[in-house]
Point group: C2
Chain length 440, copies 2
């Protein structure tokens, strides 16, 4: 695993959003496959092609509740002149050795039951008297209430063609066919098919375990009392939820105080359950930016992992960012800025694609579209930086919500899109077409 952190770093280099993302996606590798129970594999990516071991259906079977017959026995049958056949027994679904249907005979048969030997077609019960001798029937009486229904005579009022109401062996899929292709995401219908062909487990890439920790001595746990000068921790909640939303197993670590040693030991403790670490805060130029202080370790040969590099991005919000790998397994770590909007936007742009790359998904990005800007005034954006503003998208139009401030959580909670203002644009007029990331 390589990382830009191993390359000679120019501290003054301003990284573009795309360069940073490319560095992340070229470092993060899909997780090793694991064999999972079907229902545990929901939402995961199939690693191998799955081949059908036994044809579906595995045997010719009835598509109706009715009577299995020989075609010649019911040729010309009508309501006026029914064909009267001897009922030789029941064929229920799951029957291992169905009765044999001889000339002049019929077997009562249920949907999905194997077509018995000798029979060529199925007459639906609605085309018979149901063996009750009382004219056209709507159905059969429950066997437990009328066990004698499997004996006696049945009057058939319609002819049938050979194979009528019979589902042929292999008409769904044939043994040897490819059921599902490697790379398929397993949703309910794919799980249906895997179960139908008898697969109890399946090899997939597992959901990544993402450990989220916020840093800052000012952070108070929601629900506790807010002391002077302090604020509630929201990042660890928001990003754990966002990790789950991206398909990961999210673990939230309570806020860590601004102390480099505490942070280092917390991260070391968490490595055991992390496929990806996400921190918030402490990445800027301040004297208390402990994530940077704790992780921006270079030149120590005893240090495991590729190292974490701290960068400035040509981006607003989200200018300061850290990325690299740590620990003996070179676990990727994203150090996001601490302002709530900065951390959320950074997560969407960098952590979500990383999670989806770990899952082995081909399409790691949120959908994007173009929309007409609806606004009362021009949008201003710092030149040379790609700006991501919060907005609401409806029917090809996007309206900004709140301002550009990276502390505006309320506006974020009412947005469903990010408006992208490119690096070379500093003013966007209302009515202009803009690029939009749909947060869906």
């Amino acid at each position: 695993m390589s990382s830009a952190a191993t390359r000679p770093a120019d501290p003054d280099h301003l990284w573009s959003v795309d360069e940073h993302l490319e560095d992340i996606l070229s470092t993060v590798r899909p997780l090793e496959p694991i064999e999972l129970q079907l229902l545990d594999a929901q939402g995961c990516v199939l690693v191998d092609d799955v081949v059908v071991p036994v044809s579906l259906p595995p045997f010719d079977n009835s598509s109706m509740d009715g009577y299995a017959v020989r075609v010649t026995d019911v040729a010309g049958a009508s309501e006026e002149f029914p064909a009267v056949l001897e009922v030789v027994g029941d064929v229920a679904a799951g029957a291992a050795e169905p009765v044999r249907v001889g000339p002049g005979q019929a077997a009562r048969i249920m949907t999905g039951a194997p077509l018995p030997p000798g029979a060529e077609a199925v007459v639906p019960v609605e085309w018979t008297d149901g063996g009750l001798g009382a004219g056209p029937a709507n159905g059969m009486r429950a066997r437990s209430l009328a066990p004698e229904g499997a004996e006696g005579q049945v009057s058939v009022y319609h002819p049938v063609e050979a194979r009528a109401h019979v589902r042929a062996e292999g008409s769904d899929v044939k043994a040897g066919d490819r059921a599902l292709e490697a790379g398929t995401i397993l949703g309910p219908p794919q799980i249906a098919l895997l179960a139908a062909i008898g697969r109890g487990t399946v090899r997939v890439r597992p959901r990544p375990r993402v450990v989220v920790m916020s840093t800052g001595s000012e952070l108070v746990q929601p629900g506790e009392e807010l002391a002077t000068g302090r604020i509630y921790d929201s990042n660890s909640f928001a990003l754990t939820a966002a990790a789950r939303d991206a398909g990961a197993i999210g673990y939230r670590v309570g806020a860590v105080a601004d102390d480099a040693e505490t942070l280092r030991s917390t991260i070391e403790d968490q490595l055991i359950r992390a496929d990806l670490l996400v921190t918030t805060g402490g990445v800027s130029v301040g004297a208390y930016d402990v994530v940077k202080e704790a992780l921006a370790y270079t030149g120590d040969a005893d240090e495991a992992g590729g190292g974490v590099e701290f960068r400035k991005l040509a981006m607003q919000p989200g200018k300061p960012q850290g990325f690299g790998t740590i620990g003996p397994d070179f676990t990727p770590l994203l150090a996001l800025p601490g302002n709530p909007v900065s951390s959320y936007v950074s997560f969407e742009l960098f952590a979500r694609p990383a999670i989806r790359a770990l899952m082995g998904l081909k399409d790691v990005h949120r959908p994007r579209t173009r929309a007409v800007l609806r606004a009362d005034q021009v949008l201003r954006s710092p030149e040379g930086r790609r700006q991501f503003l919060r907005g609401t998208y409806t029917d090809g139009e996007v309206t900004p919500v709140g301002g550009a401030g990276s502390h505006l959580v309320a506006a974020l909670a009412h947005a469903d899109a990010l408006i992208v203002v490119p690096e070379d644009v500093d003013v966007v007029e209302p009515g202009t077409e803009v690029e939009v990331v749909l947060l869906g």
Copy 2:
């Protein structure tokens, strides 16, 4: 709770898809609210408006790492003629009692830290020498490495206006504002806002617990050996996954044999953990249709629940359906047909909306759109029945996958849409516009 099952039933009445759905949605009520931890409430619907208890930010604070100053002290400052101020200490984020900034003084301040008394604005560290006396600085040295940085002198090279780089108390949301409206679905940004205003728990409608059981003596558990005449159980897997996909907590019960007493006692056992029961199979006119036999109980005054009614729907696939309520809590039960495609389509059309109604969601249906039919031949549909064919949708076009057979699981696994052919249409020509349900 009322159900059509309490109305006098005409067994020959052919129900439309819409009538059946309306009966379900008029019976199913949103679950009672529950107070949940924030991260447990992800994806749930907020029951009450949430009001902001304390303004955000709760106090004026710095948006940059830099120096808190008085405006007059830095008026006219330039690189040539810097303003030299006495550094009186650090103001870290979370500081409860920041130092006072007097005339000619500055306090080193971190992003998010409260603006200290006496100070009027913040000068970013990049506009100073960082207190190092060595010309323009890029940042501060980590406090643990250079604790003396909080003392001495700082040279400021730019003037600032009053309130520059200060986030005003309440500029995000003000105490008393409505943070979120009742009915909001809690995604990551909404969870961010709730945490930011100090809410550790929130009152939502919980995820419904959906118990899924398939019925049929022919069913074998995937992974086991397939005996003659038997097939693998796929419905219980597919529908448990579909229930989870709809937002529910899905519980899969292994396939139940075709025995009415066993089925009744299994259902009674499962009621304790069910907000909704979904069965597959045993609802048609056959002699072994035990779901119908076990549940179509009428006239017994000792029987709890409103009763389950079995119907014929003007629909393909999915003609036989059961719906009603059972047990002391009138738990809704959907009895779906047993063919894999029938049960899956029925789940999408009836069980998914029921689950989303239990969650209190306003929009319970899958999105629909119109698309041009791409096909080699005309589609044929039985007149008088609404047909749902499997298809793949791309860019305004839909292509059928597989045939109309309700046993075609493989085709279902490759579809992402249902093509709707109305009751009064029996032939659809290629190139025609059709209605499409997007399975997303």
